[in-house]
Symmetry: C2
């Protein structure tokens, strides 16, 4: 599955400068968008998160109308697709970490075919517990930045294609989420998800699901969670921009049912994503 | 100051594929070498660290004779230079963190003019204490990997060109080193430097200085250090492949002398680097 099209700073291209700081330091941000029926889902939320990330990292944000047009251009067409945006800090002809002398940011927008990974096939997924413990970094927490070696190493822990995802914990033992997804637990009718002030990515689908749950009158809590919370959970599901809501049917050796809260939220999410709000 | 020459997988080039995982995830390693009189200093140590990093990250190591030849090619010539090697995991045409499907690693070797930064001019340097707290990540600690957003943000904390470096601490308050250097303290005639099991880069110059100090009969300790150790230090110096040993003459508001231990080690290092062992 190779990418079907690439825009670099608005033009078709296949390569970036060897002086791009994204290449030297992972100095950039990204967004991954699900595209159905020619439109990029949750585009406004993705662009808002990107702008927030730019403010936190001190990267000059791109003109939103231009970026939106580029994403919509690659999202077009009847076939489902994944569009990935990389916003890199830009080129520094001189060496060194100082970002002050960097040139304008580099926009890379790539279209990939759907489905992007086995994670997206089937309904309930099988999940393991990862061994790698994530670093706690408040200065980067929440951001979808390009420093992803921990996720690469965590994903390299298993080859079994029937396992879709691994749940990861911090050094201190707090639950964070999957390598490429957020996690929700249902316990006593309450919806729980880890707080991400010190680690993890604040997913756009996570925020959407929290809003929909609140609108549905489901009690929600964003809080520190440890491994014991997984044992106590009646339902567990993953979220991501690509997955939407994906029930966990097996966590290590334990089987989990497709529960009522997950089902109700999935139905609400489908309606939301089909409507104008989901754009 | 732009690069004078670039080799990509052994050929002159200026760009890398947009599918390179180094660009998407910072999925790679680097080395920065000081080149004087046409030779790359401490080349054997740099190559050994790179190989160790490849083993830790599961990146296929390049053929050492080829890599050595490429670095020596760019190091050649009478003028001092900096040669930077980027070893990136390679291209993944499919999306996702899983490194299993990555193509062969990409070697990028760049030559930059000397001096590389104001840090390298003068003798004693002025240093500040950084605000950003580094994440503790045992799975990545010690490696010179390409996930460097924390260093970028820490370096962005100051613009004053008379400040050469910032000393950084972990979330837990342990001293780590500079944004691009290791740090040594002299206290009661003993040489102290932070242990790097949970955070930081194990510099080749740091290892060299520790060996030279032991050979000189200077008591050395690699141990956890906190801010109070800086207050108690009689001498402080930074090390890096480019800096060698660089005394800290001012730490925040405190002036520090050019002390005898730093002086003795600097003299031994010069001799070492001029000899065959320093190659």
């Amino acid at each position: 599955m190779s990418a079907q099209a690439v825009l670099i700073d608005g033009r078709p291209g296949e390569s970036v400068s060897v002086f791009e700081r994204g290449l030297h330091y992972g100095d950039g941000l990204f967004e991954t968008l699900a595209c159905r029926g020619g439109r990029a889902r949750l585009l406004g939320r993705h662009l808002a998160r990107l702008e927030h990330g730019c403010a936190r990292l001190g990267i000059r944000p791109p003109e939103p109308t231009i970026l939106r047009a580029e994403i919509e251009w690659l999202a077009a067409g009847p076939e489902a697709a994944v569009v990935k945006l990389l916003l890199l800090r830009g080129c520094s002809p001189a060496r060194g970490y100082d970002p002050a002398a960097a040139g304008p940011p580099t926009r890379v927008v790539l279209r990939y075919p759907w489905p992007p990974a086995p994670l997206l096939t089937g309904t309930g997924v099988r999940v393991r517990l990862g061994r790698l413990r994530l670093a706690e970094s408040p200065s980067l927490a929440g951001l979808k930045h390009c420093n992803r070696l921990e996720q690469v190493l965590a994903r390299a822990e298993w080859q079994d294609p029937t396992i879709a995802e691994a749940l990861l914990f911090t050094q201190g033992g707090e639950l964070v989420g999957g390598t490429a997804s957020n996690v929700f637990l249902v316990q006593g009718g309450r919806l729980l998800t880890p707080q991400l002030e010190r680690c993890g990515v604040a997913g756009v689908m996570r925020a959407t699901v929290l809003e929909l749950a609140q609108a549905a009158g489901i009690p929600c809590a964003v809080l520190p969670l440890r491994a014991a919370a997984l044992d106590a959970a009646e339902e567990i599901f993953l979220t991501s921009a690509l997955l939407g809501i994906r029930p966990v049917s097996q966590l290590e050796e334990r089987s989990l049912p497709h529960g009522p809260v997950t089902g109700a939220l999935s139905a609400r999410l489908s309606t939301y994503l089909e409507g104008a709000d989901g754009r």
